[in-house]
């Protein structure tokens, strides 16, 4: 409360203020109790810093094993996938930490289930996103000709069971990537950008962090769709389900 002396004249109509009254006798305007609170929530800048920091920390955990390749058991498929499992575990811990720090952003999104129509859209989109992912890789290989890295087949070759491969390829990304990109980063960017721009920015971050040059077009489309689902449904669940089903389908299709 800011101390303000009793007015002699109404601030809205300029008429003399009735002594001891709470409202103006001429225009009926009530006098504000104190200065109107600034509409801006404090610390949006720090929030943006936190979101960008999460992005770069996740990027570092993905790049660090590649930079240290000489010191890691990268000569065998088991070694590569074992290292990647550790990275997935570290990322999960980091994203949960960030979610706890920004729990005010995350908890309302986890308590919202989302309107049924977004669940229908999420489920109906699975065949489309799988088709787009396959088409994207096919077109790139036909035109530019990159070496196809069949991640999924590597898991089978290294002796992972389908469930273990699913944990690494489908469950962890569906939960942790959604919590990071559609949860923390989305909520930290939204006060600074409008909804549509937030969807675009998080989609680009989602695309770039995958470091998968061959699938850029698919990853951007997937990021836009997941961001749109988050924006419209106000919930993280439809996106998580779409992400989980998409990754599981891609894994199942290439599982020997």
């Amino acid at each position: 409360m800011v101390y303000r002396p009793a007015p002699s004249f109404c601030g809205q109509c300029g008429a003399a203020w009735p002594l001891g009254s709470r409202t103006c006798g001429t225009c009926g305007q009530a006098r504000p109790a104190s200065e109107p609170a600034p509409a801006v929530e404090p610390g949006v800048g720090r929030g943006l810093f936190s979101a960008l920091l999460l992005y770069f920390v996740l990027l570092t955990t993905l790049l660090a094993p590649l930079a240290l390749a000489g010191h890691l058991p990268f000569d065998s498929t088991e070694g590569v996938l074992g290292t990647f499992d550790i990275v997935l575990a570290i990322d999960a811990v980091l994203v949960v930490l960030w979610s706890i720090v920004h729990w005010r952003d995350i908890v309302p999104r986890l308590r919202t289930v989302g309107a049924p129509r977004y669940w229908v859209i999420a489920l109906a989109a699975v065949p489309l996103t799988v088709g787009l992912a396959e088409a994207n890789v096919w077109v790139v290989q036909e035109t530019i000709g990159g070496a196809a890295i069949a991640n999924e087949a590597m898991y089978a070759a290294a002796g992972y069971s389908f469930v273990a491969a699913m944990l690494a390829i489908a469950v962890q990304p569906a939960l942790i990537e959604e919590l990071a990109f559609r949860g923390v980063i989305f909520a930290r960017l939204q006060p600074l950008l409008d909804g549509r721009t937030t969807v675009i920015v998080t989609a680009v971050m989602f695309m770039v962090v995958h470091l998968a040059l061959l699938s850029l077009v698919f990853l951007l489309s997937m990021g836009l769709l997941l961001g749109w689902l988050r924006l419209r449904s106000q919930s993280l669940y439809p996106g998580m389900v779409l992400h989980l089903l998409h990754n599981t389908t891609v894994l199942a299709l290439s599982w020997p």
Partner: protein, 164 residues
């Protein structure tokens, strides 16, 4: 707080921003309110100009990347994978510079993310690349970070002064 109050031209009483007449003497605050609003608009446009500086950085990155595509293409005989990757990165930065005209803040955030990611990934596969053009890299990052900082200030300022 200067700028957040309206000083009455007649009696110097400090009135809240929302007031149209002085609460102490009843004089009209219309002229003061107009002047304050104009001053706020000018201050906001200064901040916006700082955000727009990101555009120059994005254009330069795009141009350097495009030149690099041609030079590398000439050396390697336009190898499809290298050329298309480098050309795509150049196109992304030109697209961001174009987006910067309508949404400089978002373009600066995306530009920073893409620029740092591309160069970190490049450094992982070829550590010597990190030192190449290091001055330009630092300047680009500094310009983008300053633009983002100005963008945050611009938004906070507009909301604080009720300019939205």
């Amino acid at each position: 707080m200067p700028g957040l109050m309206l000083t009455c031209p007649q009696c110097r009483h400090a009135n809240a921003r929302a007031m149209k007449f002085c609460e102490a003497c009843g004089a009209s605050l219309q002229d003061v309110a107009d002047r304050e609003r104009h001053a706020d608009e000018v201050e906001a446009s200064f901040l916006l100009d700082q955000v727009r500086k990101a555009r120059t950085a994005l254009l330069i990155v795009g141009a350097v990347q495009a030149a690099g595509t041609l030079i590398m293409g000439y050396i390697t005989g336009f190898d499809a994978a290298t050329t298309s990757t480098m050309a795509a990165i150049a196109a992304v930065f030109f697209a961001l510079a174009w987006w910067c005209r309508t949404n400089p803040f978002a373009a600066a955030v995306v530009g920073l993310v893409v620029f740092v990611t591309v160069h970190l990934a490049e450094a992982v596969f070829d550590p010597s690349s990190l030192a190449r053009g290091v001055v330009m890299k630092v300047i680009v990052i500094a310009v983008l970070v300053r633009a983002i900082g100005a963008g945050v200030k611009y938004r906070e300022f507009r909301r604080e002064r009720g300019l939205t």
